[in-house]
């Protein structure tokens, strides 16, 4: 057999007291798709960052195509034919596809010739791998699925033989994800090696040849995909048996706690983002809003929670109006019992450079229990944070650690603990498990159902159809700013998928 594409021997890496990678040895055969799964914080990203030259391992060796490689920077990695598609795309939004592809590989001072060269090369790549995308389109006009394709093209343009994809389906619709998998299989056919980092077990089962499971920095198992099951992988990841479906008692809805009437929201350019939307959420029920990202869900959430202004319409919280068309104050809404887990936890739900305990009071920092006059009661704040860390099993259990250093799942737990522990009447939740691992997803889902069982009104917005279907008591589907249908929790994926794509189905498979 030829050399393995990548061979890692005894990779070890610590960040201070955090042992991110423990003596990891892994062989990835050339021409295969290799999945790496693990909970957030299991060390997947660290391992890949070492491979891509962002970090250097404390110990251990890397062999690329049988050759010992010292990868000190991403340019070393690129030179060795390793390409990376990041979870958060690294694209210049107002550049064209072509300009983005050559970015950093322009080759010469005058763009004209290199652009021409890139164009023909791009055509070839598109032909060979079925990666169609208009080279002259501006990135910000492209749907996310196509933006990701540009990222893949970028890597291939630089001659990548080994492609690392970090959580590639986090932002895709089911159809876009399927398309991506077809592309990956095509790339495999052409002899490329693909490393797929994900926490979604179904994806692993769908496309990979082999799968390695990481837990707490160690590589706990490598399996042939054909010889394993979802249940086994989940158990390996978490280290115990996991419930993949949420246990839920029958709904017993009470009074209407949140009522939205004829709400219309326009963005700064005057484009209608939410169009005449009305619905109610009752005590003791979870109402899920399904839809492909970008169909007005973000604007709807932000308007209800007072962050954005509505053009018209009204919102009532426990029967009392919310001034959504001007002057609704998120602080005031919190006092009235509305809690909000925002979609964008990196920029909205958390202040990443803050210590954990500082984030644990964000939005509630006016409460008397955290203050001594105008001063912060640091002891009370830290004590409070420690209690939440304990209760929500946030790791590492250090309330003075910078929030940016927590994994996605733990960051989300910081937000959830903050919002849920205030015992709100109405809980507004956006994408609660985006970028969150299986173990934490189970935890978060259980908490949401607990809130419902305690008689809270929960409004859940998610692009994960599974999540919507397993949690919601009623499902509203949003398309192009409107609510285009309401279904019960027993609606099929196909039925909801059609609604999500617009009834006319004009949005089929991007």
């Amino acid at each position: 057999m030829a050399h393995a594409a990548i061979e890692l021997k005894g990779i070890d890496k610590s960040f201070g007291s955090v042992h991110a990678n423990r003596n990891i040895s892994l062989t990835i055969p050339a021409g295969t798709i290799h999945g790496i799964i693990g909970e957030n914080g299991a060390g997947k990203s660290t391992l890949m960052s070492i491979l891509y030259g962002f970090y250097q391992a404390d110990r251990g060796e890397i062999f690329v195509k049988g050759e010992r490689a010292a990868i000190l920077s991403s340019s070393d990695a690129i030179a060795r034919g390793i390409g990376m598609v990041h979870q958060h795309f690294m694209l210049v939004h107002n550049f064209t596809v072509l300009e983005n592809v050559i970015l950093g590989a322009e080759g010469e001072p005058l763009l004209k010739t290199s652009i021409a060269k890139a164009r023909s090369e791009l055509n070839r790549l598109e032909r060979d791998y079925g990666l169609e995308v208009d080279p002259d389109a501006i990135i910000e006009d492209l749907p996310v699925g196509l933006q990701q394709r540009v990222e893949i093209l970028k890597a291939l343009y630089r001659g990548a033989e080994i492609l690392i994809l970090d959580e590639p389906t986090g932002v895709l619709t089911p159809a876009e994800a399927d398309h991506l998998f077809r592309i990956l299989l095509q790339l495999k056919e052409e002899g490329k090696t693909i490393v797929l980092i994900t926490h979604k077990l179904r994806e692993i089962m769908a496309v990979t040849d082999n799968v390695s499971v990481m837990r707490q920095g160690a590589l706990v198992a490598t399996r042939k995909t054909a010889e394993t099951t979802v249940e086994e992988l989940a158990e390996l990841m978490v280290g115990r048996r996991v419930l993949l479906r949420v246990e839920k008692s029958p709904v017993s809805a009470g009074d209407v706690l949140l009522s939205v009437r004829n709400l219309t929201v326009r963005d700064s350019r005057g484009v209608t983002m939410v169009d005449d939307v009305s619905f109610d959420v009752r005590a003791g029920e979870i109402v899920g809003i399904a839809g492909v990202a970008g169909n007005g869900q973000t604007e709807l959430l932000e308007t209800i929670t007072g962050i954005r202004e509505a053009a018209s319409g009204s919102v009532f919280l426990a029967g009392r109006p919310v001034a959504v068309t001007g002057g609704a104050d998120p602080a005031d809404l919190r006092e009235r019992g509305m809690a909000h887990v925002p979609e964008d936890r990196h920029h909205m739900g958390l202040v990443l450079p803050f210590e954990e305990n500082e984030n644990a009071i964000l939005g509630y920092h006016r409460q008397k229990k955290y203050l001594k006059g105008p001063f912060l009661d640091i002891d009370a704040i830290r004590q409070d944070a420690r209690e939440k860390i304990e209760k929500y099993d946030i790791r590492p259990a250090d309330c003075r650690l910078k929030t940016a250093n927590f994994s996605g799942g733990n960051q989300q737990k910081i937000v959830l603990s903050r919002e849920m522990e205030q015992d709100p009447d109405v809980l507004i939740v956006g994408q609660p498990t985006r970028g969150v691992d299986v173990g934490a997803i189970e935890f978060i889902h259980r908490r949401l159902v607990e809130m419902r069982d305690k008689g809270k009104a929960v409004l859940l917005v998610s692009v994960e159809l599974d999540e919507i279907r397993s949690l919601s008591d009623r499902i509203l589907v949003m398309f192009s700013g409107r609510i285009v249908g309401e279904r019960g929790p027993d609606a099929t994926e196909g039925e909801l998928g059609l609604l999500m794509a617009g009834v006319e189905g004009k949005e089929a498979a991007a």
Partner: protein, 379 residues
Amino acid sequence: MSAPYAKLPAWADYGLIPLINLTVAFIVAGLVVLLVGENPLRAAVILVDGALGRGQAIAYTLYYATSFIFTGLAVAVAFHCSLFNIGGEGQAYVGGLGVALACLAFDRVFPWWLTFPIAIAGAAVFGAAWALIPAYLQARRGSHIVITTIMFNFIAASLMVYLLVNVLKPPTLQAPSTRTFLEGGQLPKLNFMIEAMGLSVRSSPFNVSFLLALLAAFLVWVLIWRTRLGYEIRTRGHSPKAARYAGIGEARIIIVTMLISGALAGMMALNPVMGDQNRLQIDFVTGAGFVGIAVALMGRSHPAGIVPAAILFGMLYQGGAELAFEMPGISRDMIVIIQGLVILFAGALEHMFRPSLQTLFATVRPASVGAKAERAGGV
């Protein structure tokens, strides 16, 4: 995904990097000195000796440092809200008006320790008022604070010339300045503190406002890291979206932050006006507002960094004056060049050596970087 660069331990972040920047600044400055045909080593000795060699020199160094602490704190407070207050110069200038009016009104009736709090209030209120208009324009109209505060420096300069020439100048005086304050409008000197250490000071402008500056540094620390307002300022500074989410009114927090920043800049005027010259005269700020930017950058916007950075710049001012005096080849302008180089490397190019140092640390001592070492530097 994790950050692409390894983080530095605190001691490297706050100690090593400033030191490297400073060293490079002095090496480049040395080359400049070499270029004009003087011995850079001798120049360095004269500079340091001129700043710290005698009691007298130390007193002058601390006098300059006092002004820079105030303006450095002013810039730092605004930084924490991610506002770039370039207007310290103008705010300090107008703050001087507040000091002068307080002194002119009360120096006949009150002893200095009664006039002082009034003068502090005057300086703070006038400085804050001068920051209010740019703050309002930023908060309500989105006019960029960098542009408006720069413009307000020019307006302040013209306004003060007008007031001094046409309103405040006693008819008997030739120069545009107020009358000299009586004893009730003069701050006592602190020379005895240096003399207590066995050094002699003939006469120096080193005065009580130095202690006020240290107090202000402590209060700024309390404000930023220990009060609800400081928490809101930092939230807005790191993430305007998170601030909106938390219900922190953007307009309010911008205006309040700039008022505090302007008040601190205004209080700088106490040092020269009430502490040294004992009258208000043209251009008494002499660039302290701009030096404050470099001080805040070098001090990483933390009072514990700002005070030493201000003292360093005080040394450059005082030692530089000595250097110009001692070395015929080095003129006053050369000193400005050297100061400029320090500002360039310590301030503007503050991040120049960071990436390579991070790579070095990641390779040499991998276990020391990352999580533990990365706590927010606040406390």
